[in-house]
């Protein structure tokens, strides 16, 4: 079974972002970029399926600027066998990404597609669900456990009330939550080997997909800053402040 994994290049999760002075967007010049943390988890899961002999091939795909090839090379170093880069400098929204991924699914015919549950830049949490709808494949979102069993996959999902396990027919779409696994680090020899692994470059036009979106970004602002408060010296003082100053008790 082939496993397809979608990886997004995003700002490194440790970086504190700044809004541009003209409020047109977030300022990404000279900011450290990385693979979306949920996509690292998705890759890890695919590689583990391969190590268990369930997956035969892991294909990583990314949509984005030329630099997104860095994240695809990381995916290859982590154990993906080959990569597809769909190059565009436009801001590809979840719907356009899902349409492109649907075309790749049609071509590659994977048994399982794993995405992150959420990209930490747009915080959309949509693409996997949209891909499932467009391909008419079942979805297991926010997965904390994935067990392939013959022609089915059992997915345990992190839901608001706790955990839910569902069974899906294969092929299926899964989105990875934080506790699905703990991703490994790429080792230097693997990083060297990854440079020789195949990486196919395409464009959205090759798939006949329009990136343009009907949603426009009018403005980006910094949120209201919280003023740092005071330190209290004791539990008594804390209770006094909460009662008499903040009036929440």
């Amino acid at each position: 079974m082939k496993v397809l994994v979608a990886v997004k290049r995003v700002i490194d999760y440790n970086v504190k972002i700044r809004v541009k002075a003209d409020q047109s967007d977030v300022d990404l010049t000279n900011v450290k970029m990385a693979m979306n943390p949920f996509c690292e988890i998705a890759i890890e899961e695919a590689v583990r399926l391969k190590e268990k002999g369930i997956a035969t091939e892991v294909v990583a795909v990314s949509i984005g600027p030329k630099a997104a090839q860095e994240q695809l090379r990381t995916a290859l170093a982590l154990g993906a066998d080959c990569a597809i880069h769909i190059e565009t400098d436009e801001r590809a929204e979840s719907l356009a990404v899902a349409k492109l991924l649907a075309k790749v699914v049609e071509e590659e015919q994977p048994g399982l597609v794993i995405l992150g549950k959420q990209a930490i830049d747009t915080d959309n949490n949509q693409t996997g669900q949209m891909l499932a709808a467009l391909t008419n494949l079942p979805q297991g979102t926010f997965a904390s456990e994935v067990v392939v069993d013959g022609d089915k996959v059992n997915v345990t999902r992190e839901i608001d009330g706790g955990l839910q396990t569902i069974a899906l027919t294969l092929p299926a779409i899964v989105t990875a939550d934080l506790r699905l696994n703990e991703p490994r680090y790429a080792k230097l020899p693997d990083i060297m080997k990854a440079k020789k692994k195949p990486l196919d470059v395409k464009t959205p036009a090759d798939y006949g997909v329009e990136i343009a979106s009907k949603v426009s970004l009018l403005k980006v602002e910094s949120p209201a800053e919280r003023k740092g408060g005071i330190k209290v010296a004791s539990v008594d003082e804390l209770i006094d402040k909460l009662k008499n100053e903040a009036k929440v008790l």
């Binding site: 915080d123 949509q126 467009l134 079942p138 608001d160 009018l218 949120p223 539990v235």
Partner: protein, 308 residues
């Protein structure tokens, strides 16, 4: 304008989030229908009919909708969405699971986690873990939106809207329910609680979370946690507060043994009053706390409990 709002359920009953989604719909303006989907959900439909501002409740009650699996719910929404200008759901795990399917099948974008309505087509939503707020305008014919419920005050309960049965039944042979492990708690729901006390890695282990119980009892608070506390197995996943967990905005949030990573702050920094208890006086949580108490939580918590 004509809006369809998907009701949120909690163990088959109407969840508090629904009244906040209706409030978001009111901010857009127009007729508001509430859709209740599930199995055995007539009581939830009746509760939804009481919500102020609701024109009509539509209820799809069928075994195929049990456990609100994504595939049949998405297909139902696609059937029902015609004629509406907006479809709203809360940004709960159900709303997030289902709404993007509707958007994709209608070939429209979705706006996630909307916190404010500027006009019928322009909305504010947080991006980058809430470190920036985007104002976005949608020119889609159908606006598909998930609502961050902390951004809207619940509508009250004085209505008696008509209830209409939807008998659309869709087929589902792709997904099936296996089991659920739902956390049982007598405490208020995290998302809607007026007070929240959360523990982090500093709690040391799961047993120590009992130190929060007595305080939560006295305050009537919900108990939350940081990701590190959940990852370490101290407490279950449904307690995680943050960018990728629950978003809370109570009157009082007490962070205990939590350092204050941006991903955690993303889930609680809109709380009215924040208290931080941490032994490291440099911990970033103190930068957002109204009241910080530096010290060992194992000494502070018992004292706090006894003096409240």
């Amino acid at each position: 304008m004509s809006i369809l709002a998907l009701a949120d359920l909690h163990e088959g009953q109407l969840a508090g989030a629904t009244a906040r989604v209706v409030a978001a719909a009111q901010a857009i303006g127009g007729d508001i229908d509430v859709l209740v989907v599930g199995e055995g959900v007539h009581a939830a439909a009746e509760a939804a009919a009481k919500l102020d501002g609701v024109s009509k409740v539509r209820v799809a009650d069928n075994a195929v909708y049990a456990h609100q699996l994504a595939e049949p719910m998405g297909a139902l929404l696609v059937e029902l969405a015609d004629g509406y200008t907006h479809v709203l759901a809360s940004a709960s795990t159900t709303g997030k699971n289902v709404l993007p399917r509707l958007a994709a099948l209608k070939d429209v974008s979705q706006l996630s986690d909307v916190i404010a309505v500027e006009s019928a087509d322009t909305f504010k939503r947080p991006i980058y873990a809430g470190n920036a707020i985007a104002t976005v305008k949608s020119d889609e014919a159908l606006k598909v939106i998930t609502v961050r419920t902390t951004g809207f005050d619940a509508v009250s309960d004085g209505n008696s809207a008509p209830i209409e049965v939807v008998d659309t039944v869709v087929e589902n042979n792709q997904s099936s329910f296996v089991k659920e492990e739902l956390a049982k708690s007598d405490r208020p729901e995290l998302g809607g609680a007026k007070m929240v006390i959360s523990g982090g890695r500093g709690m040391g282990n799961g047993d120590n979370f009992k130190l929060l119980d007595g305080i939560a009892d006295k305050l009537g608070a919900a108990i939350g946690a940081s990701r590190a506390a959940v990852d370490a197995g101290f407490v279950p996943n449904d307690m995680q507060v943050g960018q990728t967990g629950k978003i809370v905005a109570p009157d009082l949030y007490i962070a205990v043994g939590i350092s204050g990573a941006i991903q955690h702050l993303a889930g609680m920094k809109d709380s009215k009053v924040i208290v931080a208890i941490n032994k490291d006086e440099e911990a970033p949580i103190f930068q957002v706390a109204d009241y910080g108490l530096v010290g060992d939580l194992f000494e502070i918590l018992p004292e706090l409990e006894s003096k409240l």
